[in-house]
């Protein structure tokens, strides 16, 4: 603190502190605290707020735990988000390795440019694109039929299939970039040394490259999971009759029932799930929060 004032003078230092405090307090900490607090209060008409009926209780959370449907949806959301995370890793890792170690360095910037384009395109448009493709009469079926791989159009939008496909497409790049960064920082000599000592390719990956890439993998995994579990667009657009995502239930509470209190409780549960995931991944991969920042 002293150093800050010395370096910038009292006036500027004060400005920096005020701006940062506004951000962290007013935009982050206080709203979360308020969300948390609100989740314990009952949904009341305006006149009753602050009155005798306005007591703290776990009712809103109990609503969740007592509803088998909600529990099921929550569990499936977590499970499928994890599936998406694993799939993204499986797809992205070979690419990350390719980009950092195999591709010639002249080509890499151009490749990156191409890879970045979908990211700049809005998420909703990306989901929408798949909505068209996966339609029963859509181009995917058309292509597969034409190639003779299938003889009947496949109903892609059933179960959670389409959601998973959509989520993977939308978020795979968020796994690619951190893993790429991590693999890039590995000295190629180490890989060559392993080969020189007779290690087969899969062992080199398992024992040399993957361990080094841990922070990147953790970062990617956390990001993809969080985005998937919290995604609203993809599960809604690519929904089928049998699929339901947890965020949809939150929406229901907030908009259809106008019950912001139960909505907060459910939102908090979602946040809790993400935080637990982050913590587990951090422990598992033995990385710190600072390694996860983009």
């Amino acid at each position: 603190m002293n150093d800050l004032v010395r370096r910038y003078g009292a006036g500027l230092a004060g400005t920096f502190i005020v701006l940062t405090a506004f951000w962290l307090l007013v935009l982050v900490i206080l709203p979360y605290l308020y969300l948390f607090e609100n989740s314990f209060r009952p949904y009341l008409p305006v006149v009753d707020i602050g009155g005798p009926k306005d007591v703290y209780s776990l009712n809103n959370y109990l609503t969740f735990f007592e509803s088998s449907i909600h529990l099921r949806v929550f569990t499936l959301t977590i499970v499928y988000s994890s599936v998406v995370t694993v799939l993204c890793f499986a797809i992205a890792y070979p690419l990350a390795y390719y980009l950092s170690k195999v591709a010639s360095s002249a080509v890499v910037p151009t490749l990156f440019l191409l890879l970045l384009i979908p990211l700049w395109v809005s998420e909703i448009l990306r989901s929408f694109a798949w909505f068209i493709i996966l339609a029963l009469k859509g181009p995917l079926n058309f292509g597969l039929l034409g190639l003779g791989i299938i003889d009947q159009p496949v109903r892609w939008m059933s179960g959670f299939r389409s959601i998973i496909i959509g989520l993977v497409y939308t978020y795979v790049l968020f796994m690619l970039f951190p893993v790429y960064n991590a693999v890039q920082s590995l000295d190629t000599n180490q890989i060559e040394a392993a080969e020189d000592l007779g290690s087969p390719w899969w062992r080199t990956h398992w024992r040399v490259i993957l361990p080094h890439a841990k922070p990147g993998i953790a970062s990617g995994a956390v990001t993809v999971f969080m985005l998937s579990a919290g995604s609203i667009l993809v599960p809604t657009l690519l929904a089928s009759t049998t699929s339901r995502w947890f965020t949809e239930i939150i929406q229901q509470w907030m908009f259809e029932s106008q019950d912001w209190n139960t909505g907060s409780a459910y939102a908090f549960l979602l946040m809790l799930a993400c935080t637990i995931f982050v913590t587990v991944v951090m422990r598992l991969f033995r990385v710190r929060l600072s390694d996860i920042a983009k």
Partner: protein, 291 residues
């Protein structure tokens, strides 16, 4: 490992992946020209531009567009100063304070947008502030400022603190040091931050959905149109946005490469000058320049 055969596999995988990424966008763009009520490329009915016309005439779309831009500008106006201030602040700290603050700043990025939206809505509602675009801007800023902060903080690492001290030593006030020395150095990161903030704001959906009240933004508009009854006007919009993105990205990249080439040339010249000077000096040792 790097046998020619496995390299070929890798190249092929890369190409397939790129196709996987880009084909859906092409399909989506293509559907904008197909004269079919439901967006598709097969069956192909015929070329048309009526969807673009419909788009142009869609009043609600224009309102959403205007709202989106307004929110994005507000977010940039808030996130850039906040992010920059936070980066400078955290850069002067160390130890526990630094890690703690850093964690707090990154937390919104790791939080689901829905949670950010709901918490923002509830918090300001307590002060009787209704839902609307202003809340969307505030909610978005909470995590977008973190991006700006990260960019500026990274750029700060390459800043030579001695420059600040040299400026002070020469008599500059703190404000002058900031304006003439620090901010010019941070300028690339600030511009990049502003660009990121803008585009992140435009494409934000989750947080906006809960905070917008009755107002539409582009993302919300597209969402509601897709749910209610779609026509390829959405595709037309999508194609325009995607094209703008590609053009923007290409332009940025070309500009960046040209700048890099220019810098490399200057430095090469400096090295040549340096060698020339060394030669001159070693040919005349101990000579004192006359005053």
């Amino acid at each position: 490992m790097n046998t020619r055969r496995s390299n070929w596999l890798f190249h092929a995988y890369m190409v397939i992946f790129l196709a996987y990424l880009l084909l859906p966008l092409i399909v989506m763009g293509g559907a904008a020209f197909n004269d079919s009520k439901f967006p598709s490329v097969y069956p192909w009915v015929g070329w048309t531009d009526r969807w673009f016309l419909d788009l142009w005439n869609d009043g609600r779309m224009w309102v959403s567009f205007r709202n989106t831009i307004a929110v994005a500008i507000a977010v940039v106006a808030m996130a850039v100063p906040i992010g920059t201030a936070a980066a400078i602040l955290i850069n002067s700290l160390g130890g526990v304070a630094r890690s703690a603050l850093y964690g707090l700043m990154i937390a919104p990025v790791l939080t689901p947008g829905a949670v950010i939206g709901i918490s923002t809505l509830l918090f300001w509602n307590k002060f009787s502030v209704p839902a609307g675009l202003h809340l969307s801007a505030l909610g978005q800023t909470s995590y977008i400022a973190a991006f700006v902060m990260l960019l500026v903080l990274a750029r700060l690492q390459s800043f030579d603190r001695a420059l600040e001290e040299a400026a002070l030593d020469l008599g500059a006030s703190h404000a002058q040091v900031l304006r003439r020395i620090l901010l010019p150095h941070l300028y690339p990161a600030i511009v990049a931050g502003a660009a990121i903030a803008f585009f992140q704001s435009v494409e934000n959906f989750n947080t906006t959905l809960f905070t917008r009240g009755t107002y539409d933004t582009l993302t919300v508009y597209v969402f509601s149109r897709v749910r209610s009854g779609i026509t390829p006007t959405i595709n037309a919009l999508a194609l325009i946005l995607v094209t703008l993105t590609i053009v923007g990205a290409l332009w940025y990249e070309i500009a960046r490469r040209r700048q890099q080439a220019r810098l490399a040339a200057l430095e090469a010249q400096a090295r040549r000058d340096e060698r020339a000077e060394e030669m001159t000096v070693s040919l005349a040792p101990g000579s004192v320049t006359a005053g």
